[in-house]
């Protein structure tokens, strides 16, 4: 392990301290393990709480800010936060119009967020949950509710938070979030593993000439181990898998090419070029595009492609401004 760290068990604490100090114009600390936007809670606005394990920046704490989420608890690396910081984030986000949770569909997150939701509701805060399930590699189409949430979360969170920002009512915000998630698909590939500091060893081993197709963002094994192929062939497989899973014929889409942490932006642009070629050939119209790091896995190398099928509402919500610690859109 070769990292810029002190005691690995202090890593998340020290990271949060620096993160909050660096962005104190946009966010504030709420309790020990949660942050909120500086102006939260906003009276009358539906609050949005996003969150999960740390190790994925910008997801999720850097999604908090203007036009973004109201608050986010931060777990240990790749581990759901406990119920307590989730509850603290919920209180911080509650402007009296209810709070919507959005997080990836993982057993630990569901356990802890559900417990926090029960505690919040006991305090009179209305809570609804929308689970991110964009990863097509993690379960067959008929079992979409078993799918895990990965980088497509950014697109869903962007639409969800923009909707809340319009001061829409609780049911409308929840409905938009569900629609956004239902229309989002992601497929990824990993080239190298990453190392959780307190573990000290790579989460899996992979040969120099190999790739893992459909790998999870925490190093969970994917669907297929294969010889590394030219990037066009990889992008073809990722995009074709997505297009086979949801009918994008004639649709407007948002595209997200997401780097996992160690893959250079240059390679992501090579990938985006190929995504555009495929979609152009199929007469699928790209209306919004994002290329960069939105959901990383520490220093893992690899990338994912996400597509969101857009209607007019989702398009306009994605186009709204957002100003958070690591994402700025005008």
């Amino acid at each position: 392990m070769k990292k810029l760290i002190n005691d690995p068990f202090d890593f998340v604490e020290e990271m949060l301290e620096g993160f909050c100090a660096a962005h104190d114009d946009l966010i504030k600390r709420v309790g020990r393990r949660a942050i909120a936007r500086v102006d939260a809670p906003i009276p009358g606005k539906v609050g949005v709480v996003v969150g999960g394990g740390s190790g994925h920046l910008p997801l999720y704490t850097a999604f908090v800010g203007k036009g973004g989420a109201d608050a986010a608890p931060a777990g240990n690396i790749f581990a759901s936060p406990p119920a307590k910081p989730i509850l603290e984030a919920t209180r911080a986000a509650n402007g009296g119009a209810g709070v919507v949770y959005f997080y990836g569909n993982y057993a630990g997150d569901v356990l802890n967020f559900d417990r926090a939701a029960a505690m919040a509701e006991a305090e009179g805060i209305r809570v609804a949950t929308v689970l991110g399930t964009d990863d097509v590699a993690s379960a067959p189409p008929g079992e979409a509710h078993h799918r895990r949430g990965i980088a497509g979360a950014f697109l869903v969170v962007k639409a969800l938070c923009a909707k809340a920002e319009t001061m829409a009512d609780f049911d409308a915000v929840v409905a938009t979030a569900r629609k956004a998630n239902a229309n989002t698909r992601t497929m990824g590939v990993a080239l190298t593993a990453c190392t959780v500091p307190a573990n000290g060893k790579p989460t899996f081993s992979i040969g120099d000439d190999e790739m893992e197709v459909g790998l999870g963002v925490h190093g969970e094994p994917g669907v297929r181990r294969a010889k590394l192929a030219p990037v066009d062939a990889i992008v073809d497989e990722l995009v074709e898998t997505i297009l086979a899973d949801l009918d994008f014929t004639g649709s407007d889409v948002a595209v997200l090419v997401n780097g996992l942490g160690a893959t250079p932006y240059e390679e992501l642009y090579v990938m985006y070029r190929r995504v555009k070629q495929i979609l152009d050939a199929r007469r699928i119209t790209i209306r919004r595009k994002y290329v960069g790091e939105y959901a990383t896995s520490l220093e893992m190398a690899g990338a994912s492609v996400s597509l969101m099928r857009l209607d007019a509402e989702l398009h306009d919500l994605l186009a709204m401004p957002m100003h958070t610690p690591m994402i700025r859109q005008f």
Partner: protein, 211 residues
């Protein structure tokens, strides 16, 4: 056998913390095969925090000792294991409420049953789902049967450890139904479950510490 009072329970739980931390890398390696490789880390974070709080306890009762561990998991861990062990140790605290000592197999059978039951409720999992319950449920059952048959505490705890170990071995043949590993289906068969393994380490260490 000397009475098992709050100090003895505290010492047993500190021993558990030491064993879990010593096995951090082993538990992470098991979890890396099918999961995300952090089970040893989550358990170590919880038990390190618990050990610090346990060492600071003044005149502990069995109830306060168990509750101290529950609070450590509640505050520091998260993940599925954090919620499950917070619930389990809180259930152990309730099961030992008002008791100055826990001297019989029946005392510990009640505690293990409460812990296993709570984890079943919180985790919504069953025996055979390839989770920590595959160690906890057989251990609780073996201890209850031993208690009902009039076995001594050390005999009962020894049977619980043996049942937990058999449960761990059995997880190699199971397909996971819960947690991140569940998405692998058949690909996860053949691997020993990390959560069941740490459960066995806890059960075994309590036995060794109390016997």
């Amino acid at each position: 056998m000397t009475p098992i009072d709050g100090s003895k329970v505290t010492a047993a739980l500190i021993a558990v913390a030491n064993v879990i931390e010593a096995n951090k890398d082993y538990l992470c390696a098991l979890d890396s095969d099918v999961g995300d490789g952090d089970h040893g880390v989550s358990m170590t974070i919880g038990m390190r925090t618990a050990r610090k709080a346990l060492q600071a306890l003044q005149h502990p009762t069995p109830e306060t000792a168990f509750r101290t561990v529950a609070e450590a998991f509640a505050d520091e861990v998260g993940a599925a294991s954090g919620a499950l062990y917070e619930g389990a140790f809180e259930a152990a605290a309730r099961a030992s409420a008002g008791k100055a000592t826990l001297d019989t197999a029946a005392d510990w059978a009640a505690i293990y049953e409460a812990m296993a039951h709570e984890m079943q409720v919180v985790g919504k999992a069953e025996l055979g789902d390839k989770t920590l319950l595959d160690a906890w449920l057989p251990a609780a059952q073996a201890l209850r049967e031993a208690a009902d048959a009039g076995a001594s505490l050390s005999e009962g705890l020894s049977r619980a450890t043996a049942a937990a170990l058999a449960g761990v071995e059995n997880t190699k043949h199971l397909i996971p139904k819960r947690g991140r590993a569940s998405r692998l289906g058949e690909r996860a068969r053949g691997y020993q479950d990390a959560g069941a393994t740490s459960a066995w380490l806890i059960i075994k260490t309590i036995e060794e510490s109390l016997s």
